[in-house]
């Protein structure tokens, strides 16, 4: 109940601040002119606040508990993405005045049709990214109130869609900055208190040594809501609803719903889809083969490094920087703020192995961050910290999902709906309808995708972004011979390769481990493919084109010379 109150408080504060902020901005001065006065630190906190999603807050620790230390490459890649953004995109794009990728595509290459194609890719990436946010919401609300999974998914989907439609969360810098500090405080405080409370790391053998995860000395009782297929890594006595049973080593069984009891120190059976790992194997960040193979790690790093710049809700935020150098200074601070947040999820993933081993049995490792405080402190203290963590998780879904929904609604209403001039109130109505309609597909997908890990789902969004918008941005900014046809061909090749591999991976099971790894995380193939297609088609179609001097000038000429009139940016973001 405390946790539910904390969640409602964070949600209410977000909606309230958002609506109040819009009113304030409208009555004082234009929203974006006002935003120009914001310092790089505020901007950086806002960017980080919008970026830290369910994948960062719940997913990293969950995947770490499930797969092992290979998950630690995720925060590394999520942060490194901003380094790529800084080195190649931040300053030129800010100067160009484009704050959506569709704007950039049309203004740089002069093709309205490319804009429409880019708009469809925006919807694809945003869809992949919204699903795990909603999954996180369903999971969290279920953990806190015992409500069924779909309740949280539908409730948060509705709240975010209505909020965006009502005009809240319109890139209000202060709200997003508030979300960053909420999330960082919510993940850091319990982690620090846990380490102090436990006097360091308990039971190193289960974490890093030769042990499998075991029940605590007092035994373990787990409520199964539905039957669960499990594997017993060791011969184990157990009881189902009071009836004793015994499983031999390596045996697979389907446990019925009800109360499963394990005696003290028993090796915990693992749900279908999880490998029981000894501590030393679990601790290894990279392996010769299997799900932690070198190919998978490099593909994941590439997707996150290059994908960040292509996420639809990220570039918009850079518009509130006054100029190119300020965009760079902001990005440097973002790296610092993200580093501070990402120091902590690893604590939950490791301690979860010892403190909440029942998640291996239920398969719900994504909820380790939510469960850990109450497992460590039964009683009021744990409940309060659990409420703090749940509130932080909700801040994560709300901010990221709202940012994505603003992009989705803007894309549908402006890029895909009938083009051409329309009165302001017509455009506003279209934006609202788009926000409501755009939420339907992600909600349905989230209800279907319950069994998939949050981090895996988010990995797909990054893979798609890295295979499409990353080549478009990098070549568009730095290579003047890029043509609209080349860009279109590359976008399609990258999108088809990435989504094709992902869906093939869902349909096909247990092929060669390397092929499995590539189907789960295809970036290492689809990104070079997209670059190659863009370059080759541009070279073939670009013969005799006039040089793109005006565009290059707008992208790269320093400020203050009277040369930096933006080319794009005629429309304010919705």
């Amino acid at each position: 109940m405390i946790a539910l109150g904390a969640i409602l408080a964070v949600t209410g504060a977000t909606i309230g601040l958002g609506l109040y902020g819009v009113r304030l901005a409208r009555t004082t001065s234009d929203l974006f002119v006002a935003s120009r006065a914001i310092t790089p630190w505020w901007n950086a906190a806002a960017i980080s606040g919008e970026y830290l999603s369910a994948a960062s807050f719940l997913g990293i620790a969950g995947l770490q508990m499930k797969l092992g230390s290979v998950a630690l490459w995720l925060p590394l890649g999520f942060t490194a993405g901003y380094l790529a953004l800084l080195l190649f995109v931040a300053a030129p794009l800010r100067r160009f005045g484009a704050y959506t990728i569709s704007d950039f595509a049309e203004a740089r290459l002069g093709s309205p049709r490319l804009r429409v194609l880019a708009a469809w890719v925006v919807l694809g990436i945003a869809g992949f990214y919204l699903v795990p946010q909603l999954k996180g919401a369903g999971l969290t609300l279920g953990e806190v109130t015992g409500a069924p999974y779909w309740v949280g998914v539908v409730a948060v989907g509705a709240v975010v869609a209505l909020n965006v439609a009502a005009g809240g969360m319109r890139g209000i810098t202060y709200v997003q900055a508030f979300q960053y500090w909420t999330k960082t405080f919510a993940i850091a405080l319990p982690a620090c208190l846990l380490l102090i409370h436990l006097g360091g790391l308990p039971e190193r053998a289960a974490m890093f040594g030769r042990e499998l995860p075991r029940a605590p000395a007092s035994g373990l009782v787990v409520e199964l809501a539905e039957p669960q297929r499990v594997t017993f890594p060791a011969a184990t006595d157990y009881a189902v609803n009071g009836t004793p049973a015994r499983a031999s080593e390596g045996e697979e069984r389907t446990l019925p719903s009800g109360e499963i009891a394990l005696p003290g120190r028993a090796v915990v059976p693992v749900a279908d889809g999880i490998d029981a790992q000894r501590g030393e194997d679990w601790a290894r960040p990279v392996d010769d083969s299997g799900p932690t193979s070198l190919v998978f790690v490099y593909s994941l790093l590439l997707a996150t490094f290059l994908g960040t710049m292509g996420l639809p809700h990220i570039l918009v935020r850079f518009y509130t920087n006054p100029d190119g150098p300020a965009a760079r200074r902001t990005t440097v601070r973002v790296l610092g703020l993200l580093a501070m947040f990402y120091a902590f999820p690893v604590v939950y993933g490791a301690l979860g192995r010892v403190l909440v081993p029942e998640l291996y049995l239920t398969g719900a490792t994504d909820s380790v961050v939510l469960r850990l405080p109450e497992a460590a402190w039964p009683g009021l203290g744990g409940e309060l910290l659990g409420a703090l963590v749940a509130a932080g998780a909700f801040a994560a879904f709300m901010s990221t999902a709202s940012g994505l929904m603003v992009s989705v609604a803007g894309t549908i209403s402006f890029d895909l709906w009938r083009r051409g001039a329309a009165p302001v109130d017509v455009r506003r109505r279209r934006f609202r309808l788009s926000a409501l309609a755009g939420m339907l597909a992600p909600v349905v997908l989230a209800l279907v995708a319950r069994g998939l890990d949050i981090s895996v789902l988010v990995g797909w969004a990054f893979a798609l972004a890295a295979s499409t918008f990353c080549p478009l941005l990098l070549l568009g900014i730095w290579w003047e011979r890029l043509t609209a046809r080349g860009a279109a061909a590359g976008l399609m090749a990258g999108a088809v390769a990435a989504t094709g591999a992902i869906f093939a991976g869902l349909a096909i099971d247990d092929t060669h481990p390397t092929i499995d790894a590539l189907l789960t995380q295809p970036a290492v193939i689809s990104v070079p493919l997209s670059f190659a297609v863009m370059v080759l088609v541009s070279l073939r179609t670009g013969v005799g084109r006039p040089a793109a001097d005006a565009e290059l000038l707008a992208l790269h000429a320093p400020e203050g010379l009277g040369l930096d009139e933006p080319v794009a940016g005629q429309r304010a973001p919705a």
């Binding site: 230390s69 630690l72 490459w73 590394l76 942060t79 490194a80 901003y82 380094l83 790529a84 800084l86 080195l87 190649f88 300053a91 360091g200 790391l201 190193r204 890093f208 030393e280 601790a283 290894r284 960040p285 990279v286 392996d287 010769d288 070198l294 790690v297 490099y298 790093l301 190119g324 150098p325 760079r328 200074r329 990005t331 440097v332 790296l335 610092g336 993200l338 580093a339 990402y342 120091a343 690893v346 730095w478 040089a547 001097d549 005006a550 290059l552 000038l553 790269h556 000429a557 320093p558 203050g560 010379l561 009277g562 040369l563």
Partner: protein
């Protein structure tokens, strides 16, 4: 009247284009140097950890070294590369500005 470099840039003359492309190349080289510094270190990490299994037996504060290596220090490296890059890039722009508008 002699045309200034700013006019040539604004009118996209071949001469102006030459200067502009020189700036773009300098910026791109700087970014690529930073990318190589980053990629060389972070890109080598997975392979190094795979090839040096002995690191697993070393513990820092009870945590195996491979986990310590990837969980915290690379973030400081990113910040350092980013800060140095941002200063250098601003300096390149400053010298281009001086070229277009020579300081009196």
């Amino acid at each position: 009247m002699r045309r200034t470099l700013r006019d040539e840039l604004a009118e996209s003359t071949p001469h102006g284009g030459l200067y502009l492309r020189r700036l773009i190349r300098a910026q791109l080289s700087l970014s690529l140097v930073a990318l190589v510094a980053f990629g060389g270190i972070v890109g080598a990490l997975p392979l190094a950890l795979l090839l040096l299994p002995g690191l697993e037996d070393v513990a820092v504060l009870g945590i195996p070294l491979p986990i310590v290596i990837i969980a915290w220090p690379p973030f400081l490296l990113f910040i350092a590369i980013a800060a140095i890059y941002a200063r250098r890039a601003a300096a390149l722009e400053e010298s281009f500005r001086d070229l277009v508008e020579p300081p009196r």
